[in-house]
């Protein structure tokens, strides 16, 4: 399970946002995307996820170009339905992925909030719920955009344990961040200023 991207280029309008970016992450590996605002970190993550446009280049994971269903993506938006409870949000993600949600709530200290409608949660709690969804998805490739924004230190540590477990199982992590992430010996890719 390794992630390979070869010479990815992306235009936004007529501006070249990503200029022939290549990267390689082995199984169990982690890659940090660094760079100033506007450098294209989020664009690259969305391109890797298959959500953004890729004007040139090639992405493959686990030796295949077909990435559908193998990706857990966490963007700037949490993707939490405010009308559903925390448990229902996770249960939906789990059912879609065909998995069991119970363990993830405990892991990120959310079991006490399980029955609460997600709209009552604070921004940091919603983010933790979104982090729990990564675990629930069971996807081998995690693409994270500022995953710990607004999350307290204890939860970042708990998330670190999830990241370690994910990588120990051969999973791959690519994260864009300005905050220190609990990803020991992660490779770094520095994107240039726009």
């Amino acid at each position: 399970m390794r992630l390979i991207a070869e010479a990815i280029s992306t235009f936004r309008g007529d501006r070249l946002v990503l200029d022939r970016i290549s990267l390689y992450v082995p199984a169990g590996g982690a890659l940090l995307l660094l760079g100033p605002n506007g450098a294209g970190k989020s664009t690259l993550l969305r391109a890797l996820a298959g959500l953004g446009r890729v004007d040139a280049g090639r992405i493959s994971f686990d030796g295949s170009d077909e990435l559908a269903g193998k990706i857990a993506y966490l963007g700037h938006l949490d993707g939490i339905k405010p009308g559903l409870s925390a448990a229902e949000n996770l249960a939906f993600a789990a059912r879609v992925a065909g998995r069991d949600p119970a363990s993830a709530l405990d892991a990120l200290g959310l079991s006490r909030l399980a029955g609460l409608p997600a709209r009552m949660l604070s921004a940091g709690q919603k983010r933790r719920l979104a982090l729990a969804r990564l675990v629930v998805s069971g996807a081998p490739l995690w693409l994270l955009d500022e995953p710990t924004l607004g999350v307290d230190a204890a939860s970042v540590a708990a998330f670190g344990a999830q990241l370690a477990a994910h990588r120990a199982g051969g999973g791959v992590v690519v994260a864009a961040t300005h905050l220190p992430l609990p990803l020991p010996d992660a490779a770094e890719l520095r994107l240039g200023a726009p």
Binding site: G50, R53, A68, Y73, L77, G79, K81, F92, R95, V96
Partner: protein, 221 residues
């Protein structure tokens, strides 16, 4: 398959939490229908003549109301990204949304259409044709509406664009649906009109989800 049912169950649960959306379309349907006797006078024979058209036009317009939130809410809170990455094809996500729209708007409209038609003095003999037509027609509307809602997703003033896009596509539904109820009121056979409605539904069933799926992908780019 489990994922599809999970999506449908989520839509129904969310609708139950925000019951106002469903009730809003239904109330609009009743209020708009009730305006016609006030505007054109209460003479039973005039109303009976116009009833099929009134019910059909009101149903069309009421079905439009929930469309701009159909994908809008998911688009804004990031759930749409998650749905498209879940491994479900975009077209299946769109079909789930269309099915939810029909269950939450089409079916309630179908139930409310009978009382409104009776209120407008539609002859009882024409009721089966009206409701049969509406059952097929509201399903067409849900599918066409879903496709158009996906196409305008992310566009500025999409809510204004949406009816302009959907309504022309629904003209065949309106023509054959109203003609069936009209024909039944005057004792004519309605099989032809209902079969044409069925044919239109059969065309919408595969085409609309595929178009909507492609549009959803484009909206997320």
């Amino acid at each position: 398959m489990t994922a599809f049912w999970a999506l449908l169950a989520r839509e129904l649960r969310l609708a139950a939490r925000h019951g106002g959306d469903t009730a809003g379309a239904l109330l609009f349907f009743f209020v708009a229908g009730a305006l016609f006797p006030l505007a054109i006078g209460p003479a039973p024979e005039t109303l009976a003549r116009l009833a099929p058209g009134i019910v059909w036009v009101c149903a069309l317009l009421a079905a439009l109301l929930p469309l701009d939130r159909l994908f809008g809410a998911d688009f804004e809170d990031g759930s749409l990204d998650q749905l498209l990455l879940s491994g479900l094809p975009g077209s299946v996500v769109a079909f789930g949304k269309a099915a939810a729209h029909w269950l939450l708007t089409g079916v309630p409209l179908l139930l409310a259409a009978g009382p409104l038609a009776v209120m407008l003095r539609l002859p009882t003999a024409a009721l089966p044709a009206l409701l049969g037509g509406l059952a097929l027609g509201t399903a067409c509307l849900s599918l066409l509406g879903t496709a158009c809602a996906a196409i305008v997703l992310g566009a500025r003033r999409g809510g204004v664009l949406l009816p302009v896009l959907v309504l022309p596509l629904t003209t065949p539904v309106l023509i054959f649906g109203a003609a069936a109820a009209d024909g039944a009121a005057s004792g004519l056979p309605v099989r032809g009109e209902l079969m044409l409605l069925g044919a239109y539904l059969a065309a919408c069933l595969p085409l609309c989800p595929v178009a909507a799926g492609a549009a959803l992908r484009a909206a997320c780019e």
